[in-house]
Amino acid sequence: MRDATLTLSGARRGPRATTNLGMVALRQAWLLAVNDLRQEARDLELVLTASFFTLVVLIMLGMSFSALGVSAQPLAVPGMLWLSVAFVGALTLSRIFNREREFDTLRAMLVAPVERVSIYLAKAFVTLVILLGCCCITVPGLALLFPAAQPFAERPLETVALVVMGCTAYAGVGTLFAAGLASSSGKNVLLSVILYPLTMPSLLFALVATRSLLEGHASFTTYLGQLTATNVLAFVVGAWLFEPVLVGVPQQRSARRASRRRR
């Protein structure tokens, strides 16, 4: 971590950093994400709770819909997949800033010489990794439980692309508002209130794309393209709004002015 801090500080001060701000932000995001993942690997709290929750949801879906006819399954399986992602995502996002909230380190992170967008990208990446880990349980589970979900196993590349794209938009929008709630000492119940209406468009695109994948329609790539466009929009708006939502722009401007005066 010491190395990482030194690198981050150096990147901010060096002359190259100003010319290549995008790469610096990405590098900072990568270092922060690796740090978060390393801490997660020590106690596995989030990974284990999210995986267990996914398993429980899968068992409940299996029990509820085991009698479903094969013709109805292609309509039901996409809903099962993306509802479980929505539930697990809400659980993950309510915990993703928990460490910062418990030890009050979000403020420390915000005053560190790191681009704020890097914090956003790092947290979104960690959320994405955990969601994808949970999908590694849900997708094979659904393929085992429901014959209509066999295309998941038959077309693995398309399935991976679909799952990655679907989870990315969810992580992009969710991280912004999870951060906002963590910084405002807000109630976590509001996260679900905000999260579901906002992530519904991307989940709907993912749902329609999954249905076309299961039914073998050629429109799958079109829906995947629309889902990708939603992802880009979610990340651009999320990255743009992260700093104003988290700290407020006037505060940030006055902090910059104060820092210039000190110099």
């Binding site: 929008v173 906002g180 468009p201 708006v237 709004l241 104003p244 407020g248 722009v249």
Partner: protein, 234 residues
């Protein structure tokens, strides 16, 4: 002037609205295919336009609030969001009534219906966050409003991008002049009512902010002599 204007708008709307109803039900010809139920178009379409306009106003005001920490922009954002809920409810009630008569089903899950429903949900979430959120959640709500405003072009272009049961956006241009003649007064009456309510609600919010500031100032003044006495004693 600012105090009188909303009531002037309400008065004007109160005069135009009965004329509009008279035009819609007594002077505009009955549509051949849909029959009398088509009359709901004169309320559904203006409400939908006003809802989208208010959502954009709310999103822009929220952006200004985030950028400049403007209390007025925040008040406009709150007022517009609440009116999006009201007009959105109107759209979501009149739409299915019309749909039931035209398509045989009140809700067909088409892209425009879903995106309108989502817009309403986003602004319902905005109002919930504003009411129940802790300190600092006003920035969170502003972010939500910006995402809500992004949904407006999606609603508009939904009929062009996806296959929907809704009529396309070109239909408005092909309406006969008798229908336009009935649509304009309804639109103006509803728009004036919405503007009046927006202005009244903005004033309420600004008064609320002024009261809060006065209360804080009063508490600060009350605490200052005690503090001075305490430091003096020390």
């Amino acid at each position: 002037m600012n105090k009188i204007l909303p009531f002037a708008f309400l008065g004007a709307a109160g005069m135009i609205f009965p004329y509009s109803v008279q035009l819609i039900f007594l002077q505009t010809p009955i549509e051949q295919q849909m029959g009398t139920v088509q009359k709901i178009f004169y309320f559904h379409v203006p409400l939908a336009w006003i809802m989208m306009l208010l959502a954009v106003v709310c999103g822009v005001a929220a952006g200004i609030q985030l950028r400049r920490d403007s209390k007025r922009a925040e008040a406009i954002s709150i007022a517009a969001a609440e009116l999006v809920l009201v007009t959105g409810l109107g759209v979501l009630i009149t739409g299915p009534i019309w749909g039931h008569a035209t398509w045989g089903k009140p809700w067909t899950w088409d892209a425009r219906q879903v995106s309108t429903g989502l817009l309403w949900l986003v602004f319902a979430a905005y109002v919930l966050v504003r009411h129940y959120g802790a300190a600092g959640s006003e920035r969170l709500a502003a972010g939500l409003a910006i995402f809500g405003a992004i949904d407006v072009p999606v609603i508009y272009y939904a009929v062009k991008i996806w296959k929907t049961t809704h009529p396309s956006t070109d239909v408005a241009g092909s309406l006969p002049s008798s229908m336009w003649a009935a649509l304009w007064p309804a639109l103006i009456a509803l728009l004036l009512t919405s503007l009046a309510l927006l202005m009244i609600r903005v004033r309420q919010e600004m008064t609320d902010v002024a009261l809060d500031e006065a209360w804080i100032g009063l508490e600060h003044d009350a605490a200052s002599p005690n503090l001075a006495a305490a430091t003096g004693d020390a």
